[in-house]
């Protein structure tokens, strides 16, 4: 007899497989619902054991899906849910039996035997064919008064033929029924087992052709004495409840998908929560190095990548607050940013909160269906009262810098206009009226000094704060910048926080002068 076990708990799956193997069943094991579906729709089984809560496709959905395709193999559902509702759901989905975990092993085996008997042409535990008798409760086989000692495979082979003694079993059929999909027996294996079984039967007095061969067709049990053979009753119609059609199908599918998605998220979270915490630890290690001024670029890049991955992962699970904390770290740890040791403490604060959020999230309670709207609400400046944004115009011909740095600056409450072609400087300036202009020095068409000089000569731009931001830390260059009218000179790399402080200082000083 061949059984498919679909159970996501690896320990339980292994235990069930071992236990059922010991009971002479051939076992295939699947770790999730979709794999279970693949197995069940590919191979022939005599019984399915399904866990109720499975990743990817839960036991209820799998059961329903199988029954909808006319699948009549008995299904035993296992679940830790002991409520009447859960049991009704399981049975309504098409299960033939429902057992609550943790279960009593002998009871499980008895129920499996009962279900298998119900599915066979002979539902009784003791089957006899003339003088040959087999008791599936005790695994005893007698020929007359003589007991037979059979191997597990010989026993199931004989039981299969006794339970359907009018059937000719082909080699393929036998292989399919008695060996799991992970074993690779061939026709010769069947012949070998048949030969040994015949030998043992003849040793206790059975005729050599008790197991007969129908050439080109297969093997069958020759009925010795019809009057003493248990004739198989008609197969019972399995007590399968019709699928639940109370809910309109599309709505039902949608709800089912959502329920399964939530289950999948929970299952995946259970597996990957520790990975998230490992990423947190990786970031913490980088922050420790930052604190002791030992942070190297590769380690910063690794920490940035960890934070970035956390943004995607946590968001996918609908953990918005945690995602936002990871996003803050992702922005602050960007490899192009120069980090100062005194920043480590504030980053640790984010990290501690993030760790706490992950540790406290044991279950994903809700589907992350509305995350987009919520994320937009978080990012949407109109959704919360905030002071008027300071408009910063950033002129730099490095596209990567313009793609990344504004992102960080925006998190400090600035509105950032970027321009990589200085030839469009005036049109952008006059069209947007920024509060501050930040200029790079070396640009291809017009350099920053020229732009600053022009600014200082044209009303009304003479008083707009101009800051230079350059990788050039040469004192002469800085002197030249101030001589053409710069208000400040900053060196790359710089943190968004430092730049933010300098912008605010500059604007406050101007405001105080005006007042």
């Amino acid at each position: 007899m061949r059984i498919l076990v679909v159970e996501d708990d690896e320990i339980l799956r292994t235990l069930l497989t071992q236990r059922l193997n010991a009971e002479c069943y051939a076992i295939d094991a699947a770790k999730d619902g979709l794999e279970g579906w693949d197995y069940a729709s590919t191979y022939e089984y005599d019984l399915l054991i399904l866990d109720l809560v499975l990743p990817k496709l839960n036991g209820i959905a799998l059961c329903q899906k199988l029954r909808h395709t006319g699948y009549t193999v008995p299904i035993l559902m296992l679940s830790s849910q002991d409520t009447s509702t859960a049991k009704i759901m399981g049975l309504n989905a098409g299960a033939d039996d429902y057992m609550v975990k943790p279960f009593d092993e002998p009871e499980l085996i008895s129920r499996i035997r009962a279900l298998l008997r119900r599915g066979s042409s002979n539902p009784l535990p003791i089957v006899t064919c003339g003088p040959l008798s087999l008791n599936s409760s005790t695994y005893e086989v007698f020929y007359g008064e003589m007991a037979l000692t059979l191997t597990a495979k010989e026993y199931v082979l004989l039981e299969m033929m006794m339970r359907d003694s009018q059937h000719v079993f082909s080699s393929d059929e036998i292989l399919e029924s008695l060996w799991s999909s992970e074993e690779f027996p061939v026709d010769a294996t069947v012949r070998s087992h048949m030969r040994r079984l015949r030998k043992k039967l003849t040793a206790v007095g059975a005729p050599p052709d008790l197991i007969a061969t129908s050439h080109g067709r297969g093997y069958y049990l020759k009925i010795l004495d019809l009057s003493t053979t248990t004739i198989a009753p008609a197969r019972e119609t399995p007590d399968i409840a019709p699928p639940n059609l109370l809910i309109e199908p599309s709505k039902s599918n949608e709800l089912m998908q959502q329920a399964q998605y939530l289950e999948l998220l929970n299952d995946t979270w259970k597996k990957h929560r520790s990975t998230c915490l490992e990423r947190v630890e990786l970031i913490r290690s980088a922050l420790d190095r930052l604190h002791s001024a030992q942070l190297t670029s590769p380690i910063q890049a690794e920490a940035y990548r960890a934070a970035h991955t956390l943004v995607g992962t946590l968001g996918t699970f609908g953990l918005h607050q945690a995602m936002q904390l990871a996003r803050n770290l992702d922005q602050e740890l960007h490899p192009d940013l120069y980090l100062e040791p005194n920043q480590a403490q504030s980053f640790r604060s984010f990290l501690n909160q993030l760790q706490q959020q992950i540790e406290q999230t044991l279950y994903i309670e809700n589907l992350p269906t509305m995350f987009e709207d919520r994320a937009k609400a978080i990012e949407d400046p109109t959704s919360k009262p905030s002071p008027p944004e300071i408009k910063v115009m950033l002129v730099d011909d490095d596209p990567f810098f313009l793609e990344t740095f504004p992102h960080h600056l925006k998190s400090y409450g600035f509105q950032v206009l970027t321009l990589n072609d200085p030839r469009q400087f005036w049109s952008v300036l006059e069209g947007n009226h920024p509060d501050v202009v930040i200029l790079d020095i070396q640009m291809q068409q017009i350099n920053g000094f020229e732009l600053c000089q022009e600014l200082r000569s044209v009303d009304p731009w003479q008083k707009i704060p101009v800051m230079f931001l350059s990788a050039d830390s040469n004192a002469e260059t800085q002197h030249k910048a101030f001589s053409v009218g710069a208000d400040d000179y900053l060196c790359k790399p710089i943190t968004a926080q430092s730049l933010s402080d300098r912008i605010h200082n500059r604007l406050q000083r101007i405001q105080s002068i005006v007042n």
Binding site: K56, L57, Q257, G312
Partner: protein, 129 residues
């Protein structure tokens, strides 16, 4: 709708799982996974999927480098690629689009709507499943 084969290249196993679930469940598509750029290129060559979902931020070979390698390969050049990224800025999205990918999907995404998003990006007929 004809069954599609989708290759997801992402070093985050939980994202692979969620994508696989979402696409199988809502569209019935087959999903194959790779955890790195190099593995993804090998799988793309071997399995020739109908499209590739490619994470941008991966160690060693990142998504853009993987995309470039796919473009240089005759066997994989024609496979549409959609980038997956947690970067949400519109300017960054434009930058990615400029590379020649078929589209960008921002993480986090709803796995139950992912097939629909892919269909929209690639102008595939809507999944009937």
């Amino acid at each position: 709708m004809t069954e599609k084969c989708i290759l997801i290249i992402d070093d985050d196993e939980s994202i692979q799982t969620v994508v696989e679930f979402g696409l199988k469940m809502t569209a019935g598509w087959e999903v194959i996974s790779a955890s790195s750029g190099n593995e993804g290129i090998s799988r793309a060559q071997a399995d020739h999927p109908d499209m590739i979902l490619l994470d941008v931020m991966m160690p060693e070979m990142d998504g853009l480098a993987t995309f470039r390698a796919l473009q240089l390969n005759d066997q994989t050049r024609s496979i549409p690629v959609i980038l997956l990224t947690a970067k949400a800025q519109a300017s960054e999205k434009r930058l990615f689009n400029d590379t020649g990918v078929s589209g960008v999907i921002i993480k986090p995404f709803n796995a139950l709507e992912l097939a629909e998003q892919i269909c929209n990006v690639l102008n595939w007929a809507e999944s009937s499943n």
